[in-house]
């Protein structure tokens, strides 16, 4: 009798807790998804529904007009291709250079390597704003220590090309690269030394050990870094708006979308444009910019969540 009562009390507690948990999780999930849902509902609305008081979520007249507008104003397909190739190139280069540096710092100690690693931490800590202007000026008249003027006679202007991104990611100094080096280093430190030593005894060189033994073991770290780097490069407006002022990539197109919209939508007269309609098209633009990311995320989120759990971030 008493025991069953106790049991039922325990049961009660369990049910109550799982109810509270579901409420919390559903509520917060709604908070996260709300802007996306709202954008979708806005994007498929017709202009006439904008002021209709009975339309809140589900539009009365569906229309794809917003999408058409955005595609033409943002030059969507070209922008998509540009952004994709830029993100892909920087991601691959960043992953390679950061993996090398991470392995070097983790396992191949040399004199002063700890001091250099302090340098990596410094790159994480210094806000990018602090060094933005000198880098900008440096890239504007890029000399590579006076080498290029010797060959061609004058410095080259690297702005408005992909070179700033390629160079910085090749040398593991792109956006948040310090963090990636840190992740790789922690991960490689977590792989048992015996694995490596066995490879050396079997006659593998250091390069071969890295390629054949360490890298295949580091797949979780590689996935994490490539995902982070791809996504952050895609969304980055800090560097892209500085380096690429006229090239068409998603971030610059998005940040200039409000102005372009006002100019192009209502026949060039920005003052006549309806701000709510502009905002509607702008929301559609944001939706279309993140849509590729969401699609990619749907496919890789399983690996993402799993891999981060096994990454060495935790130390």
């Amino acid at each position: 009798m008493i025991q069953s009562k106790l049991l039922s009390f325990e049961n009660w507690k369990k049910w109550l807790w799982s109810f509270v948990r579901y409420t919390l999780i559903l509520g917060l999930a709604f908070v996260i998804l709300y802007p996306i849902l709202q954008k979708i509902s806005t994007a498929i609305k017709d202009k006439s529904d904008l002021y209709s008081p009975i339309v809140v979520w589900i539009p009365q007249n569906y229309s794809l007009n917003n999408f058409k507008q955005v595609i033409s104003i943002m030059d969507y397909w070209e922008t998509l291709l540009n952004t994709f190739s830029l993100s892909a190139v920087t991601t691959i280069l960043t992953a390679v250079s950061c993996a090398l540096a991470g392995y070097g710092f983790a396992r191949l100690k040399f004199k002063g390597s700890n001091l250099l690693f302090a340098g990596v931490l410094l790159t994480i800590l210094v806000p990018p704003t602090t060094i933005l202007i000198p880098i900008y000026l440096n890239l504007k008249d890029f000399t590579l220590m006076g080498l290029i003027p010797l060959l061609t006679g004058k410095p080259v202007n690297l702005l408005n090309s992909y070179w700033p991104f390629i160079l910085t990611s090749m040398t593991a100094n792109s956006l948040k690269a310090g963090l990636y080096i840190f992740i790789f280093r922690q991960f490689f430190r977590g792989i048992p030394k015996e694995v490596e030593e066995a490879a050396y005894i079997d006659g593998a060189s250091i390069g071969k050990t890295f390629m054949r033994i360490m890298l295949p073991n580091a797949v979780p770290a590689i996935i994490t870094v490539t995902l982070f780097s791809f996504v952050w490069q895609w969304n980055d407006s800090f560097y892209t708006t500085t380096y690429l002022t006229s090239s068409k990539v998603m971030a610059t197109q998005l940040s200039s979308l409000p102005y372009n919209l006002a100019i192009q939508l209502d026949g060039g007269d920005a003052s006549k444009a309806d701000p709510f309609y502009l905002s509607m098209v702008q929301d559609t633009g944001i939706l279309m910019a993140i849509l590729p990311l969401i699609i990619i995320y749907l496919f890789v989120q399983r690996y993402f969540v799993e891999s981060i759990e096994r990454t060495g971030i935790v130390g």
């Binding site: 999780i25 908070v31 100690k109 933005l132 996504v231 709510f276 990311l293 989120q301």
Partner: protein, 303 residues
């Protein structure tokens, strides 16, 4: 070893390793020097001088601390923006860290639909970065919908208002109440900024060995006690990591960054802009040092 012999030099195993280590780090080192160290030094130099563009390019003239003095005393918006961003950061960091620890514990439990919930909670890692966040805050549609529907917005305000009254009457101090209700109102901002932190905490919680929990259960500990006696100490190093990460993460999106860029690139006052950036960096460094010092005393390490 073979390579060493070919060159006529015999290297020990350790030397060879050191050589390759240097080679692996070399790309980063080059980038570090060219794209970080030299710019950092010249930024410091710019901040101490006035820069004028002319036919020969630029002339840099040393003027001492004048730029710093101008930023702090003459410029109309710098002081205000600086304090605002720092206050924002100080307010947000504890909320984000506590919130993400709580969610990580929650997402670590077994329940139906856990993988879906996890996928949704990591979505902000993708969505809430860079340009999207800044554009989102200006979305008129969102504002209009909130008004039109009369729903979510009003209910939100209402609920936090009620909560506020309830807590005030229960005798909490006013500043704490305002802080907490402010957090309720800014829930989207906090959720969207805590994606990476949740990931880090979740990863940390999963490395705690289940034996500890089993043993504590045998001894009769409740879930609440297990959290404070096991989970919390075990993830305390990660609290430090997350605090540092959150502080650094807030660099990339605040009003001060915009002000610094505007001064540099639209007014072309490179000297002043660099001085502002350095003041900002020093403030951040001080905050980081203080918080690291305070937290690391409480952190529990295995050794």
């Amino acid at each position: 070893m073979r390579k060493g012999l070919k060159l006529g030099i015999t290297r020990t195993y350790a030397q060879q390793k050191a050589f390759w280590g240097f080679l692996y780090v070399l790309p980063w080192l080059l980038g570090f020097i060219f794209f970080f160290l030299i710019p950092l030094i010249s930024s410091l130099r710019y901040s101490l001088s006035t820069i004028t563009a002319n036919a020969q390019g630029m002339t840099i003239e040393f003027i001492g601390l004048k730029n710093y003095i101008e930023a702090l005393t003459v410029n109309t918006s710098f002081n205000r923006t600086l304090t605002e961003s720092i206050v924002n950061m100080v307010v947000n960091v504890p909320l984000i860290v506590i919130f993400s620890l709580f969610l990580a514990v929650l997402l670590n439990q077994k329940f139906f639909g856990r993988s879906v919930a996890r996928a949704i909670f990591f979505l902000p890692v993708i969505l809430a970065s860079g340009v999207i966040l800044s554009l989102e805050s200006t979305s008129l549609i969102q504002a209009v919908n909130d008004q039109n529907a009369g729903g979510s917005g009003a209910i939100n305000a209402f609920s936090s208002f009620e909560l506020q009254r309830l807590m005030l009457e229960a005798g909490f101090s006013e500043s704490i109440v305002l802080y907490l209700t402010g957090a309720v109102d800014r829930i989207y901002e906090i959720v969207s900024l805590s994606g990476v932190q949740i990931l880090i905490f979740l990863a940390g919680i999963q490395t705690i060995s289940p034996q500890l929990y089993e043993a504590s259960k045998m001894e009769g500990a409740t879930g609440y006690e297990a959290f404070w006696k096991i989970t919390f100490p075990m993830v305390s190093p990660l609290i430090l990591v997350n605090v540092v990460y959150t502080i650094i993460d807030s660099f990339s999106r605040n009003a001060l960054t915009d002000l610094i860029r505007e001064t540099g690139f639209t007014k072309f006052n490179f000297g002043l802009s660099s001085a502002m950036a350095w003041i900002y960096f020093l403030c951040i460094a001080v905050i980081l040092a203080i918080s690291t010092f305070l937290i690391s005393r409480k952190v529990f390490y295995h050794e």
